[in-house]
């Protein structure tokens, strides 16, 4: 079975997950993003690469940051952008996911940027488009359930490369709620594909998925041990509804043992960078002193996110 996100020539048809993508494609995306981040410095920030194309932001789950940066990226490429927040729209009237897609196809969509609460939803859409012979329409996964958030993973790689110049010899730790995190899964696949020799995940056993070591990571339950000599700390967001109950006793106890504080950060290398996909829960997974401190590159991540999303969109649909 062919990887559904690749076309017959092995090029990128959709961006659904980083799992299974060759290193060359990841590197090409990062290389393509570099000049786009310069566009942002100009007075006229527009490029004509997607002129006349219609990009539908299809968000079945709410989002501010991701949707906005996709919108900005598409607009900087001169595309027409249509935002649909479907959680409050047709599916509540009983329309199926694929019916919604069919209707938007009939409106001459060129690209869908999809966020959905169910793992695999963008695959279903991509497979449906293939079955309908609509190969000119591209799908970008903007986050599906616990599965993947590939553009977040890529912008994180762009950030790491920006600050660390190379992926070789790095030790990277991903901290927090790995179990429910699509961001963590995309980060793990990207880091390993790009050649990072040691990827660690840190968290209590309730938040570490079964057999995650088979994805190629080392598992730590002691945060200080896990942070020892790392070059990059990637914090994960802890959703409010997971802070109490059977997964964790309280946000306070989580913060004490797995929250990133200046004190714990001292275990890492002196030049370590601290990342977070946002939105942050200050005082739960990260202390304000760290979030606003000299190691944090959290706001540059957001800025780089626009360039990376421009790169992906232009590679899929530009020319």
């Amino acid at each position: 079975m062919r990887n559904p996100q690749l076309n017959k020539n092995g090029g990128l048809q959709h961006l659904l997950t980083i799992d299974g993508l060759p290193r060359e494609i990841l590197s090409t995306i990062l290389d393509t993003a570099a000049p786009f981040s310069e566009v942002a410095e100009r007075e006229v920030k527009k490029l004509p690469l997607l002129r006349g194309k219609s990009v539908f932001n299809l968000f079945f789950e709410s989002s501010t940051r991701t949707r906005t940066t996709f919108e900005i990226a598409a607009k900087r490429l001169s595309a027409d952008v249509i935002n649909l927040n479907i959680s409050t729209s047709s599916t509540s009237k009983g329309e199926t996911l694929l019916d919604t897609v069919d209707n938007l196809c009939a409106m001459q969509a060129d690209m869908f940027v999809v966020r959905h609460a169910s793992s695999g939803a963008p695959f279903l859409i991509a497979q449906h488009l293939a079955a309908m012979g609509l190969e000119h329409i591209h799908v970008i996964n903007a986050g599906d359930g616990r599965h993947a958030h590939p553009t977040q993973g890529l912008l994180d790689m762009y950030t790491i490369r920006h600050y660390k110049k190379t992926f070789a010899n790095l030790v990277v730790a991903i901290v927090g709620d790995v179990l429910h995190s699509r961001v963590a899964r995309s980060q793990i696949h990207a880091l390993i594909t790009l050649g990072v020799p040691e990827v660690r995940v840190i968290g209590p056993k309730t938040l570490i998925p079964t057999d995650v070591d088979k994805l190629g990571v080392r598992v730590f339950h002691d945060m200080r041990a896990g942070l020892k000599d790392v070059d990059v700390v990637m914090m994960l967001r802890l959703q409010n509804e997971r802070m109490q109950g059977a997964l964790l006793p309280s946000p306070q106890e989580f913060f004490k043992y797995y929250g990133l504080t200046a004190d714990k950060l001292e275990c890492a290398r002196p030049d370590a960078i601290v990342m977070h996909p946002g939105p942050m829960n200050r005082g739960v997974e990260i202390d304000s002193a760290v979030a606003d401190g000299p190691h944090a590159v959290i706001l540059p991540q957001v800025t780089f996110g626009i360039a990376v999303r421009m790169a992906v969109m232009s590679m899929l649909a530009g020319g």
């Binding site: 079975m1 990887n3 559904p4 799992d19 199926t96 996911l97 694929l98 959905h116 169910s118 793992s119 695999g120 939803a121 695959f123 279903l124 497979q127 449906h128 599906d144 359930g145 616990r146 599965h147 993947a148 699509r182 899964r185 998925p209 079964t210 057999d211 995650v212 088979k214 994805l215």
Partner: protein, 428 residues
Amino acid sequence: MKIHIKNGRLIDPAKGIDAQADLFIAAGRIAAVGAAPEGFAANRVIDATGRVVCPGLVDLSARLREPGFEYKATLESEMAAAAAGGVTSLACPPDTDPPLDEPGLVEMLKHRARHPSFAHVYPVGALTLGLAGERLTEMAELYEAGCVAFGQAQAPVVDTLVLMRAMQYAATFDFPVWLQAQDPFLGKEGVAHDGEVATRLGLPGIPVSAETIALSAILQLARDTGVRIHITRISSAAALEMIVAARASGIAATCDVSINHLHLSDADIGYFNPHARLAPPLRDGRDREALRRGLAAGAINALCSDHAPVDDDAKQAPFGEAAPGATGLELLLPLTLKWAGEMKLPLGQALARITCDAARVLGLSAGTLAAGAVADVCIFDPRGSFRVTRESLRSQGKNTPFLGQELPGRVCCTLIEGHVAFENGRQG
């Protein structure tokens, strides 16, 4: 109607027969095997040269979707599928809408199924009202209406006191109880086996312990109550080990496995294929190997289709939202042959699991070609093949992970009580 089936390779696993022999049918029963009875004048001769003649298949789980789910399937569509698949007896689980918890519903189902070309239907009655796991059904009345066993389909009995009482009551009348082992809490959010595949795909997992914990409760209560217990659709090596150990300690538990779990593992979910969304979930490759060996050795008593036709809308959804289940009546024989071929098993040993052994679980004398038995017969071409497509499936459910595959064996003719219900691609 007298029928002479000639020149076939006759396999009757119940009698240990695998030989070139003719079969003679009169008045809906097997009149003789080998030589014609004196004065036998056939109205019809079926040439089975190059074909296997075996007992009609006995399927321990086939959902006909009536009453209540006629948009998924109807008795007519699924009985056509059964006949085309060589299935002549089938047990249907109680998860209809309403569930089979009242004698009137069972009588209606039995009445609707009364047709010479329809397989014999053996309803499994609901163990508790509405399958809610709270109040017992009128099991004795349901038995009189035609139920052969009592179960919960895939609904749990959360309250173990209710479970014990239900087993005690069933044991009073020596009614068998059929249960699927899945802990309702450990399995609550999960949609796939809790392992590397689910982790990679970000699918909430169902651990093997969801099966073994529930199984442990069932087996201990079965021992205490003395009920005849049958465990449906086991999915893991650990569950099989527990059942084997329970037998060694004197609990007469039987169990079955589905065709899907015999051939597939969680790796077959691939890129979120909703056809691989099944309940119980597909486990990993080691579990599958243990199930394949366990069925060959007879530790697993029977193989069933676990036929569950699902409408397209319910399957065309993201993996976790897709309705679980796969169509299977027409795949039971081909997937038995595929398994037998891969395991290098004698054909008779493999066919036993879908004929006499399954009949024994049901408490029936069916599944044999012995003289005097009801003439339920399946004639198939072992060198033929069945290509699984939406068009080739007669079931209203087009949902199966085997879609697109070419499977061994082609059913040529199905006889139900001596009536030709299916022949050369046409319904009788």
